[in-house]
Symmetry: C2
Subunit: 511 residues, 2 copies
């Protein structure tokens, strides 16, 4: 029996395990502010890596970064509320601009400093960016406009969970306007493809890209697309969305252009976003009972060297030996970027440091003691293969030169291994042979620990018929995730209505 590093296993209690990973890997903590967390260096460092890699891809799509106001006047939402059914109202509202003493040693919002018009803390920026688009876009020559923003947004959530659902979260939001519907639809899919490739190639998270069913669309959207990832408890996590908004927002906000014939026509807009929620997905995809495992492309440190110092005369030569390895590897690149390597010289026991980095999920952890120096070796642990078959920690002594020769290949191999492992797990847990609703019911009833997803055929019902489907799924705590963009053709009947099927859709429990 292996004794694992976390106080709770995935098997025993997945939700508790999730919190344990965040705590033990020093990723984030409760802040004392309702529903908001403090992102600590390791958690925020992963976000910075995500930002860098996403940002490069977003710029390569031809988008420019901008920054729009945090506060949105209430009236902007009145405009939107008129046009958009399902308009969400849980938002933080600023009503005062000064604090004064309450005369009892405390502070209160100054009644004299009440705002004439309350300001809403942005839950997303369609309204304020739409207002800018209406200023910027006059002629067909001004199109396309493609803008991205990195920002914090606030949605007043009743039940919060670190990374997955927090009152304040960090994200990027892409917003673009095009001349034609066809362009806008194509670009909505290009943004989705950007998310798919980022998730799979960088985060090593296999996802299914597809279109959300009608009732799961972003309010005001004509089409909403998502990437869905399977967590290790079998639940789905929506990890990124891309919306074709048609003229919903451009009509409401007067975003129109004069075409080459001189006619004024509304622009076609899209928006798309990915957030710190992705870090929750990373934990629940790659974490194990010893903590997080970070794919090398996202790891703030890809290789950590722990010098085994003992406060004696050997220490200097051990440190020197470690710095030598560091120097050699700083010259090397992997995934098109310089290798990120840390020599951890903090004053703590080396076993504590080793386990600290293993719980954080640094891909490669090296230990270097006096014997390693003497033999020209290093002791290496691959985080993706922590234990030998006999249950002992797999710390391999290899020659320093061999290690230097293969370090970048090892990082590539770990990136691939994490993806392959997650994909195999995911693929083994999607059933595609369920054709009767009773069977679906049975499948999800069988195992309280959520056995995975089911891809069923359906007739894409609408209206009251769709409402009924949603209700039947809700009774089983299930939701329709998306209609995979890539899947087999239909050949049967709708599992809900018995009518001829028109497409396949994924059914799952979800975060």
């Amino acid at each position: 029996m292996v004794k694992h590093a976390l106080p709770v296993t995935r098997e025993a209690d997945f939700a508790q395990w999730y919190q344990a990973v965040i705590a033990e890997a020093d990723m984030a903590e409760e802040s004392g502010v309702r529903g908001s967390m403090v992102m600590r260096p390791w958690g925020y460092g992963i976000w910075e890596r995500m930002q860098r890699l996403l940002d490069d891809r977003i710029k390569a799509l031809g988008y420019d970064n901008c920054y729009f106001p945090l506060f949105i006047p209430l009236s902007y939402f009145e405009r939107e509320a008129d046009h958009v059914e399902g308009f969400a109202k849980e938002m933080a509202v600023v009503t005062h601009h000064r604090l004064v003493s309450d005369g009892k040693g405390g502070l209160i919002p100054d009644p004299e400093a009440k705002l004439e018009e309350p300001l809403v803390v942005r839950p997303t920026s369609e309204t304020v960016i739409g207002a800018a688009f209406s200023r910027w876009i006059q002629s067909w020559r001004d199109l396309p406009v493609q803008i991205n923003q990195w920002a914090n947004v606030v949605r007043w959530e009743m039940r919060t969970r670190m990374f997955l659902r927090t009152t304040e979260f960090l994200w990027q939001e892409g917003h673009a306007a095009y001349a034609t519907e066809e362009q806008a639809r194509t670009q909505t899919r290009r943004a989705l493809e950007l998310y798919r490739s980022f998730a799979e190639d960088c985060a090593a998270i296999p996802v299914i890209a597809g279109e959300k069913p009608e009732h799961e669309r972003f309010p005001g959207a004509v089409e909403t697309w998502s990437i869905e990832a399977m967590m290790q408890d079998g639940k789905a996590l929506q990890a990124g969305t891309s919306h074709f908004l048609g003229t919903t927002f451009s009509a409401a906000q007067n975003i129109r252009y004069q075409n080459e014939e001189g006619t004024f026509v509304p622009a076609q807009t899209i928006s798309w976003g990915m957030s710190t929620r992705m870090i929750g997905g990373l934990i629940m995809t790659h974490g194990d009972d010893d903590g997080l495992r970070v794919p090398p492309r996202l790891a703030p440190w890809q290789i950590v060297i722990v010098p085994m110092l003992r406060d004696n005369h050997e220490d200097a030569s051990i440190l020197h030996y470690c710095r030598d390895i560091q120097q050699a590897l700083l010259q090397e690149s992997v995934f098109g970027e310089p290798v990120r390597l840390l020599v951890d010289t903090r004053p703590a026991k080396s076993a504590t440091k080793r386990w600290g980095w293993l719980k954080k999920g640094a891909p490669l952890v090296l230990e270097v003691g006096g014997r390693d120096v003497a033999g020209g070796n290093v002791s290496m642990i691959r985080r993706d293969r922590l234990y030998r078959e006999d249950g002992k920690l797999d710390s391999a002594i290899i020659s320093r030169d061999d290690f230097l020769g293969q370090a970048t290949e090892l990082l590539e191999a770990i990136q691939q291994a994490l993806y392959d492992e997650a994909k195999a797990k995911r693929d083994a847990n999607i059933r595609r042979d369920v054709t009767e609703f009773a069977e679906l019911e049975k499948f999800f009833a069988e195992d309280a620990r959520y056995p995975g997803w089911v891809e069923v055929q359906w007739a894409r019902p609408t209206g009251a018929e769709l409402d009924q489907v949603v209700e039947r799924l809700k009774a089983l705590k299930l939701t329709a995730r998306n209609v995979p963009a890539v899947c087999d053709p239909v050949d049967g009947t709708c599992i809900f209505t018995g009518k001829p099927a028109v497409e396949r859709i994924l059914i799952a429990r979800a975060y």
Copy 2:
């Protein structure tokens, strides 16, 4: 007479000119939200460059990036208000978490959704980061803790001005805790030195680093240091500050550690910040009557090539020629980073595009027409030397190969030239020979356009004596900026009190 690109010159109206640069260089615009601006791609792109260069330096100092909540509970400020005199109260206060219909087609904050404790939108994060420090720091082994945050902050300003003073602005705030006072004081100065070198080496803005006088300290600080830059109207701009906070915040927030002897002692904390205000400083240092001039290290695009397309058969070969130059330069590095070069293929007249980039201040603008292709040349404009002596635009035809051979050196030369020009202007406008207050009065009365700064000797008065000095300066619209860290020794008497001088201090009008 040169006809300049901006509708107003610095000479005619400096404040109007400042707004004109921002508008004509497409840097930012009013957002429709009180005191908040929209940062457009060129303005935000400069901020991204500042972020990248500052962030590298901050990490090299050993700081880790984190993220703390936007909202701070009111009670945190009550704690601070007790301890900190001069506590600023102009802050945005969130009091409700939902909007509801007012029954008349509008929306109002839902009276049912009033927060029990109002939340303040962070004006700075000392309180919430201090609370985290008190959790993180237990033992001397936990020190130092060095944290940086990139964030938006909000201060309710009555009069706002783009970049210089906006209700919401972007910044980085460094926060650190040390075991000893000496360490903390040293690190406060290291942060200041980081700002000095960033301002001078990256932004090409010469600054004077020094300590703020007592009455200009950050509330609660034991020492406040700043870098001060001279704008082209002679006013001073505080471009970055670094505070030694002593135990003010650690006492209020219980940030204490057990030292090696087992005694609990309060940690010594520091904080330091630089913001988007720096962009205002960039404009007022390097801008001219044709727009902005961006130092190459901060330019989102260092070289812009405008192909002179005419919708005819030559276009393909012109584009090909431009792409060739692009390919060749993409291999090259300058200032330790790859060259940033754009080929501007937008559908607009080449003269419009040329002047667009000159107003934005791209360091090198190339134009390539059919004749250039035939001759193997490019037409090159250096933004820092826009006109020939005869007042004509200085567009030099040089061979493509010569250009490729010297492009990176040219960028280095432009970076240096902008710095040298600003430094010469600044140095020529600091007077150090003023020894009588009447002389000071006369100097600043002489020219309504603010002739520059005066460095005077003073006795560092305190209490009522200092109040009097501040009042006398205020009457002349002057402020004491800082006591330069590097300056001549004192040899006279205090210009305000007549007592023996103890240090030199800069007096100026300021933003």
